[in-house]
């Protein structure tokens, strides 16, 4: 352990900690925008700056190692002023359409503007660059008028999904997040996993599927396991008025041990079938080329009867069972048990073997 002084209090932190970690361990809150514990450090938003005695420059606490004997101020007048200037600079480029933004109430940038009292920016001369919101993909809304260039999306794309679909284009004030040649996501290596949405601290990246259906403070979050495949990812159903209106990530390892919040396009965006009018809600039996609705008892009786007939006529090996990754391990177990013990054949396989 090393000892250092933060805001006049002597504290301890494990050797090798960053100043941010040392602060967090000791209950001192530091604002961060580009920092994400699951991503490579960037040290670029400069919101987490702190003052260190005998150092001429502010230190970005997310990347500065905590050292023995350091004397740190995290909320001095100078630091608060610098953070306000940084927020004002970002506010000058940010489109504050909070009233229609899906991230309203769940936006780190909004929270800091509230905390630091940023009602308006002193740096609006020269105006705001206007970005066209135009990407025809069905999943991801990219509104760079709200982007604050933290590059968390770039790092999530590269490090979690390893798709490397997006990066920073151009330089300085002209820089923005883009796919190669500033085209559409569907022409890029993007797999629409939405990890970028998961890490975005503003409303720049949101789900088109959930748009307008409910904001963070209106929904209940119900943890469940994704049913699309056998991986078993944890996802959070966002439920409003007993309807699923979105899927979000739970990034706590304790609750999301398999995926730590990372999802694929199906898990994150493929939930709207739940309330789809096209969804089958009762078994259908085909008679004379036409489907008719049936009860479960009737349908299961028919299936059992036909299986028995095939087995009697052609022997058990004329039957085979092909199971699905969309059902649970237990159901898959039952399926093979049924095939071997009831149908009497070893012809059993699973789509995950393909």
């Amino acid at each position: 352990m090393i000892r250092l002084t933060i805001n006049g209090r002597e504290v301890e932190a494990p050797r090798g900690s960053t100043l941010l970690q040392a602060c967090q361990l000791n209950g001192i809150e530091i604002p961060t925008l580009c920092y994400d514990p699951d991503l490579r450090l960037a040290g670029s938003c400069r919101m987490c700056i702190v003052e260190c005695k005998n150092r001429p420059l502010f230190l970005a606490s997310c990347v500065a190692p905590a050292e023995e004997g350091m004397v740190i101020e995290t909320h001095s007048d100078q630091i608060m002023q610098a953070r306000r200037v940084i927020l004002e600079l970002l506010a000058a480029r940010h489109d504050f359409s909070c009233q229609t933004c899906d991230k309203n109430g769940d936006c780190t940038f909004q929270d800091y503007c509230y905390e630091y009292g940023i009602k308006e920016s002193s740096f609006e001369d020269g105006g705001r660059r206007i970005y066209t919101v135009d990407d025809p993909n069905p999943f991801l809304e990219r509104d760079y008028n709200k982007c604050i260039m933290c590059t968390r999306c770039v790092r999530a794309c590269e490090e979690i999904t390893v798709a490397r679909a997006i990066n920073v284009e151009n330089r300085g004030h002209h820089s923005k997040i883009a796919v190669a040649f500033d085209g559409y996501l569907e022409d890029s290596p993007c797999v629409f996993c939405g990890q970028c949405v998961m890490v975005c601290p503003t409303g720049a990246l949101t789900s088109k599927v959930s748009a307008g259906q409910g904001r963070a403070f209106e929904v209940d979050r119900v943890l469940t396991t994704c049913t699309y495949c056998g991986t078993g990812c944890t996802l959070e159903l966002n439920v409003k008025d007993d309807r699923v209106v979105g899927v979000s990530s739970n990034r706590e390892e304790e609750w999301s041990p398999v995926n730590k919040g990372a999802l694929c396009v199906k898990g994150r965006f493929g939930w709207d079938f739940i309330n789809s009018p096209d969804r089958l809600t009762t078994p259908l039996i085909k008679e004379n080329g036409e489907f008719r609705e049936a009860s479960w008892d009737e349908a299961l009786d028919l299936v059992a009867q036909r299986l028995q007939e095939v087995k009697d006529q052609h022997g058990p090996d004329s039957l085979a069972m092909f199971t699905s990754a969309r059902v649970t391990n237990e159901e898959n177990y039952l399926a093979q048990k049924f095939t071997r013990a009831v149908l009497g054949t070893n012809n059993v396989d699973h789509c995950a073997r393909l």
């Binding site: 610098a82 000058a92 480029r93 604050i148 920073v168 004030h173």
Partner: protein, 410 residues
């Protein structure tokens, strides 16, 4: 009367830079031979005790920097910063054009100290002829076996100012966007491809052969005691002799401009001088007797920087000059960190507002606050130094600002 004192430009104009034989006849590569009889530790101690400090702008003790490279590191790199992107600076080009083998020898000396087998020279993108010139010299040195098993490659920049910052330079050599890394870790521990790397400026390397030849005491006795040796300054602007001068570091700014530089042309009066490049401070008349060494300059609130000396006569308007500089930084900010990406853009907007007579005193206040935050909060030297021209002109030439403000005009 101040005099030139030539160490790194000793051979300039006396030898044919394209001829290895000329360099050898002038005593070239003798220091490298001598170094090979020394241990790495002896060599680092020699350079450290000579008090040679980096000539690229940060002024860090070169021997100490080399000492950060772990002795057990199996792979290390020597990188020479020839990006020289500061407008008005042409000292590195002058040295390399006049005496390319001096740089190669200096790099090979450093390679011996940190047990490196590979060096890179990162050459400014606007200097393609220097790349050819260096490649020829490297080929000559390799053919004649002077460099031993040390290999040097030239990498050409793409014209980005920020790539003169050592970690952005490393990123660029690696093939990434030219963006600085946060420090620590410093390049001495994790640099090029994550391996320990020494990055030094051309002028720093070029001093090494003479230090090895004449000893550390000789070098430490030249110029100012805390920043000994010479410094190459390149004079531009409203000064009679617009050319490079190599002077001992105890020379004052006044001596450089008026004795060597020949003063201001056309009978005009001196108004200001900007030292260190575009990000340097604007210095008024009353600070002209400051010696041109790192510490004296720092104590006067000035950075020595790269050695560019941009002289302005009485007819120059500071708001005009600084607006152009603000435009330069708006263009050259890499965009990685918030205060620089947004700050350089907003500074330029505010400067334009002042220049066109649209600004109020509160705009100047905002500009000053923003500038002060940038100097302390930006990630790399570019953003930290970009507001220097604004802050120093606000301090020393506030009248130029005041008469442009709305209240003053109406």
């Amino acid at each position: 009367m101040a005099q030139e004192y030539r160490i790194v430009l000793a051979n300039a104009g006396k030898i044919d830079p394209a001829s290895l034989d000329d360099y050898l006849n002038a005593g070239g590569y003798k220091s490298l031979e001598k170094v090979r009889t020394m241990s790495a530790k002896e060599l680092i101690d020699l350079v450290r005790s000579s008090k040679l400090r980096g000539r690229g702008g940060a002024g860090f003790n070169a021997g100490m920097k080399w000492g950060f490279v772990p002795e057990t590191a199996p792979e290390t790199y020597v990188v020479c910063n020839l990006d020289e992107g500061e407008p008005g600076t042409y000292k590195d080009r002058t040295i390399v054009e006049a005496d390319p083998h001096l740089l190669l020898e200096g790099m090979a000396i450093c390679a011996h100290a940190i047990r490196s087998k590979q060096g890179y020279i990162y050459c400014r993108g606007e200097y393609p002829f220097v790349v050819d010139h260096l490649n020829r010299a490297i080929e000559q040195a390799k053919q004649s076996g002077q460099l031993g098993d040390f290999n040097i490659e030239v990498r050409m920049g793409g014209g980005a100012y920020v790539c003169g910052e050592e970690t952005a330079l490393i990123e660029s050599i690696e093939g990434h966007r030219g963006e600085p890394r946060f420090k620590p870790p410093f390049p001495g521990v994790a640099g090029l491809w994550g391996k320990p790397t020494v990055v030094n400026n051309v002028e720093t390397f070029a001093n090494l052969p003479a230090i090895v030849k004449n000893g550390s005491e000789w070098f430490a006795s030249i110029g100012s005691p805390n920043y000994p040796g010479t410094k190459v300054f390149t004079l531009t602007g409203d000064v009679v002799n617009r050319r490079p001068f190599e002077v001992p570091t105890n020379t004052t700014i006044r001596e450089l401009i008026f004795d060597l530089g020949g003063g201001i042309p056309n009978g005009k009066a001196f108004k200001a001088v900007q030292i260190g490049g575009t990000s340097g401070a604007f210095i008024p008349e009353h600070l002209l007797d400051t010696p041109l060494d790192f510490d004296s300059m720092r104590d006067a609130g000035i950075t020595l920087g790269t050695g560019a000396v941009f002289v302005m006569d009485e007819t120059r308007d500071m708001v005009d000059v600084v607006t152009r500089i603000a435009k330069f930084f708006e263009h050259e900010s890499c965009g990685k960190c918030n205060p620089c990406r947004e700050g350089t853009f907003r500074s330029y907007e505010l400067m334009k507002k002042i220049k066109t007579g649209q600004a109020t005193p509160s705009d100047v206040e905002n500009l000053s606050t923003l500038s002060k935050v940038m100097t302390k909060a930006c990630l790399c030297g570019l953003g930290q130094a970009a507001p220097t021209p604004i802050l120093t002109t606000l301090e020393h030439f506030s009248d130029d600002y005041k008469r442009r403000l709305l209240a003053a005009i109406s």
